[in-house]
């Protein structure tokens, strides 16, 4: 089962704020203040090198948000200082304008990515004159080459290249499904009552079959049909049937695992 770990790393406070507002569809005022501040602090901690300018920007934006929120939550004060309120609107508009500009260029960058992906499918001919009669004509080819150029060229030449072919021979195709394994165990377990995992998998050859059998055990455990005991770490697992003695595969809903 393929799975992905999503840990977005934000490139800056705008990135984070855009994410908070747009992608998560979070109404910032519904999030508690500490939640907003926490997100910013998490990002600050994640920054590999502490960059004072970015940190300040993070703080400034977090502070603006907090101020906006406080302003919203407090009972309307008719006596509020007009200058203060005007200042707040101004700050908010500035933030909004900067967010919109940032978003504009983020979207433009997607087009650049697309263009570059398209262009990389077409390789340029960079061979130069190859016939002897032309090679002799050209002036000194090393004229503009410096020793650092040479070093860079060597590093380029020896840089690891992406693997061209993926070797799939180590991936065993799934021969058995979890559902089949469950069915097999239902044949035997209610009758035997108790078995160790080692015994249960003694006749299996491929590691993947053992894994599938293990998933089947977990599946039945989840359904409350059996109990699992393991006396010590890495010790053998005792499996005890505690379900209906007449259980059949039909009575249990088994999730399909995609291999």
């Amino acid at each position: 089962m393929p799975y992905e770990v999503h840990t977005p790393v934000f490139d800056g406070p705008f990135d984070l704020l855009l994410h908070l507002i747009l992608r998560e569809q979070v109404e910032l005022y519904e999030v508690d203040l500490s939640g907003i501040v926490d997100s910013y602090l998490v990002e600050l901690e994640r920054m590999e090198q502490f960059d004072l300018e970015v940190a300040t920007e993070f703080l400034l934006i977090a502070a603006t948000l907090v101020e906006l929120k406080v302003r919203r939550l407090l009972p309307e004060d008719r006596e509020v200082d007009v200058d203060d309120e005007f200042g707040l609107w101004e700050e908010r508009d500035l933030l909004l304008a900067r967010l919109i500009e940032c978003k504009t260029f983020k979207d433009a960058a997607l087009v650049l990515r697309h263009l570059s992906a398209e262009a990389s499918r077409s390789y340029a001919r960079r061979v130069g004159p190859i016939e002897d009669r032309f090679i002799g004509l050209a002036p000194d080819l090393l004229r503009r080459v410096t020793p650092p150029d040479l070093r860079d060229a060597f590093l380029r030449a020896t840089a690891p290249r992406p693997v061209v072919r993926v070797d799939l021979s180590h991936i065993t195709p799934l021969k058995v499904t979890v559902a089949e394994a469950v069915e097999e165990m239902l044949d035997e377990l209610p009758r035997v009552g108790r078995v160790t995992f080692r015994d249960l998998t003694a006749d299996l050859v491929d590691r993947i079959e053992v894994v599938v059998r293990f998933l089947a055990v977990l599946e039945l455990f989840k359904q409350g049909a059996l109990d699992i005991e393991q006396a010590r770490s890495f010790g053998d697992i005792n499996i005890v049937w505690i379900g209906d003695p007449d259980a059949s595969a039909d009575s249990l809903v088994v999730d399909a695992y995609e291999g």
Partner: protein, 198 residues
């Protein structure tokens, strides 16, 4: 009517060129006009396409050059192995987008738009040859101003920066702007009570 000798001469020169060749240079070498070169090249583009050749004549970075047809990429990659080993990061692409659309532009201006310092990313882009110093701000401080390079255009397969889609196309649509405005509300829209219920 294009003189007979022009077409094969252009093909021959382009075959030994390592960079895109501007029409002006081709015209000078072949002894003809720029207009004639453009006509010849555009005919060649069509001919190669009609003949379903494995190569194309592309107009890139202000010049013409031979490239492999995009559909042949899988076969070419088997031979070259290198592929596009270096994908550009999101940060690099966003920075490039700012430079491309706002050039000439200073590092501070880019930082302001992206909301982060861009020194590291700009250094990388400069090392890779995608951006370069193009001028100095005439104002106080004389900040270095940056622009994109021909290598950037080659990387994107563009003839000139003018071929980038207009920036206006990327202005967020109303729904997004509204979402942002909602996210940054100063007061509640339905601000009719002082103590908000619920």
């Amino acid at each position: 009517m294009v003189a007979e000798h022009v077409t094969p001469a252009v093909e021959a020169i382009l075959l030994v060129a390592e960079d895109p060749l501007p029409a002006e240079l081709l015209a000078r070498l072949v002894g003809t006009t720029v207009a004639e070169i453009e006509e010849v090249c555009s005919t060649l583009v069509d001919e190669y396409a009609a003949d379903e050749r494995g190569f194309v004549l592309a107009r890139v970075a202000g010049g013409y050059r031979y490239q492999t047809a995009p559909e042949q990429a899988p076969y070419v990659e088997r031979y070259v192995l290198e592929g596009q080993s270096s994908r550009l990061s999101a940060a690099a692409l966003e920075t490039l987008a700012v430079v491309a659309y706002k050039q000439p532009v200073s590092r501070n201006q880019i930082s302001a738009i992206r909301g982060v310092t861009v020194d590291g990313v700009m250094r990388t882009l400069q090392q890779r040859g995608y951006v370069d110093e193009v001028a100095r701000d005439p104002g106080p401080g004389q900040a270095v101003l940056y622009g994109t390079t021909p290598a950037f255009l080659e990387r994107l397969g563009l003839d000139s920066v003018g071929d980038l889609p207009p920036l206006g196309e990327f202005f967020p649509d109303t729904a997004v702007v509204e979402a942002l405005e909602r996210g940054l509300r100063v007061v509640d829209d339905d601000d009719d009570t002082t103590g908000r219920p619920g």
